[in-house]
């Protein structure tokens, strides 16, 4: 379970998080929605320790993340970055098996390669892709490789940062389905941040709406269309008029 309690984060004069409170139950798929620049990425980067919050508490499985053994703590996580964040200088299989080639999960190179190829197959890529470099792949294939890397070490918790950004609708649908399948299959806790409503409906068990630095609404995805929260209604229906100011 992931708990964020009154988390604040300010960059210069810009207060991005102003008291975020959120609970993601174990094994659930939570999708955080909200407009661009509302702090969705900052929220998950705070959980991962990539950004240090100014105040508030973040707990993972009951343990305060600031007091955890960093290496051990991160072995529980997998993350799919918005742009893939694949290492250009490494082959695709070395990207996928990165964690299995070094550190406390290190294993023989051949074994790591086999696991990488199996994970590539799991995300729908042929084994011939393994020896290519990331720059040789299309955007959709890079997302799949990023997904394979996120799941390679069988993490308990997986974060997906804008998983369908930059993809055509068909490829976005494929990635959404893959994410849903993998999360269910692994029984992992998943947190996805997106403003793509098709992703929300495909991936989410629960949805949280982040706006003005706080969680405005949270509830099951089935309540998304029937809820009366004006922020959610405006966002889901893509209206310019409403409490969320639209910059024209």
């Amino acid at each position: 379970m992931i708990e964020l309690i009154d988390v604040h984060k300010t960059f210069g004069d810009n207060a991005v998080l102003r008291g975020v409170n959120l609970i993601v139950p174990k094994g659930e798929s939570m999708v955080i929605i909200g407009g661009s620049g509302t702090g969705k990425s900052v929220t998950i980067k705070c959980v991962l320790g990539l950004i240090t919050p100014d105040s508030g508490t973040i707990k993972v499985n009951g343990q305060d993340v600031t007091k955890a053994d960093r290496d051990e703590f991160l072995t529980h996580f997998g993350m799919l970055f918005q742009g893939g964040a694949l290492f250009d200088s490494l082959h695709v299989w070395e990207n996928v098996a990165f964690r299995l080639l070094r550190g406390r999960l290190k294993r023989p190179r051949e074994e790591a390669r086999e696991i990488a190829i199996e994970k590539l197959r799991r995300v729908g890529l042929k084994s011939s892709v393994a020896d290519q470099f990331p720059a040789e792949l299309s955007g959709g294939m890079q997302k799949r490789v990023g997904l394979a890397r996120a799941i390679a070490a069988e993490p308990d918790i997986i974060f997906f940062d804008e998983p369908t950004t930059g993809l055509d609708p068909i490829m976005a649908g494929v990635i959404n389905e893959l994410i849903r399948e993998i999360v269910v299959e692994m029984g992992a806790t998943a947190v996805t941040i997106t403003h793509d409503m098709s992703s929300v409906r495909a991936i989410a068990d629960d949805v949280a709406m982040l706006h003005d630095g706080v969680i405005q609404w949270t509830g099951p995805v089935s309540d998304l269309d029937s809820c009366n929260d004006p922020y959610v209604t405006q966002f889901v229906n893509g209206r310019a008029e409403g409490p969320i100011e639209a910059v024209r």
Partner: protein, 258 residues
């Protein structure tokens, strides 16, 4: 008037803060160079890209510098009948100063820029964040191997550059200035003392450390976007070049001041 003084104060404080950040970064780099985990594959790649692939540029710089130096010393020496000192001055000039400094500057242009651009691009494309989420410390994985490799390979490059530079002077000496081949070589070997060569190699190690450190520092602190990476690359080369020249003076003072 007050505005000008305030601007000067701000600039001074910013410069001191930047120096402090670089000093902390250097201290952190040194700590990570000698504490596990180590990444031998990254270190091997860095040795290859920083050392081996810099050989042509260092060699070309050295041979032309040595050749030009021989012509200048001959022309200058002839004004007071001292043309015969060409082998000795070429040798000492190359091994003490020109070999390490020009080699260092050429490697700074080639290596500090490529390290800053590579790490800066990794930063703006979230690859550094990805390293952290994969339980890998970027200072250990990216910075420590590059700085260690540059510190170890620059003395080797300087030694190669010294040799090629002296050879450049020798070729000009025997083909254009009518020196006897055996006498030229004998004068060179007899004149040089071990510390002449050793001091140049020590300078090379210091320059190597500074070059890779600047590349890594500015890459890690690159601002967002292509413009940020471009600015980081330029700053890395400028800072590395200035530090090479400044530290060369300080080391020369320390080694040879009367």
């Amino acid at each position: 008037m007050i505005g000008a003084v305030a601007s000067l104060g701000h600039a001074t404080l910013a410069a001191i803060a930047a120096l402090g950040r670089i000093a902390l970064f250097a201290a952190s780099t040194l700590r990570h160079m000698f504490t596990p985990p180590f990444y031998p594959r990254e270190f091997g790649n860095a040795l290859l890209t920083i050392g081996w692939f810099s050989l042509p540029v260092v060699g070309m710089t050295a041979i032309f510098t040595g050749a030009a130096l021989a012509l200048q010393i001959y022309a200058g020496g002839s004004r007071f009948n001292a043309e015969s000192v060409v082998p000795q001055i070429v040798a000492i000039g190359m091994v003490r100063e020109l070999g390490p400094v020009l080699g260092g500057l050429m490697v700074a242009a080639r290596v500090a820029s490529s390290i800053a651009a590579e790490i800066g691009t990794m930063k703006v494309t979230e690859q550094i964040d990805a390293l952290v989420t994969l339980s890998t410390n970027p200072m250990k994985y990216l910075t420590a191997p590059r700085v260690l490799a540059a510190t170890l390979t620059l003395p080797v490059l300087v030694a190669v550059g010294d040799t090629i530079g002296i050879m450049g002077g020798y070729l000009v000496g025997i083909t254009r200035l009518d020196f006897n081949s055996a006498t030229y070589l004998q004068n060179t070997v007899n004149f040089l003392e071990p510390w002449d060569i050793g001091s140049g190699l020590v300078k090379g190690a210091v320059f190597g450390f500074l070059i890779a450190l600047m590349g890594c520092y500015f890459g890690m602190h690159s601002a967002r976007g292509a413009q940020g990476v471009g600015a980081a690359t330029k700053a890395a080369v400028v800072a590395a070049s200035v530090l090479i020249l400044a530290s060369n003076y300080l080391l020369t003072e320390a080694f040879f001041a009367a």
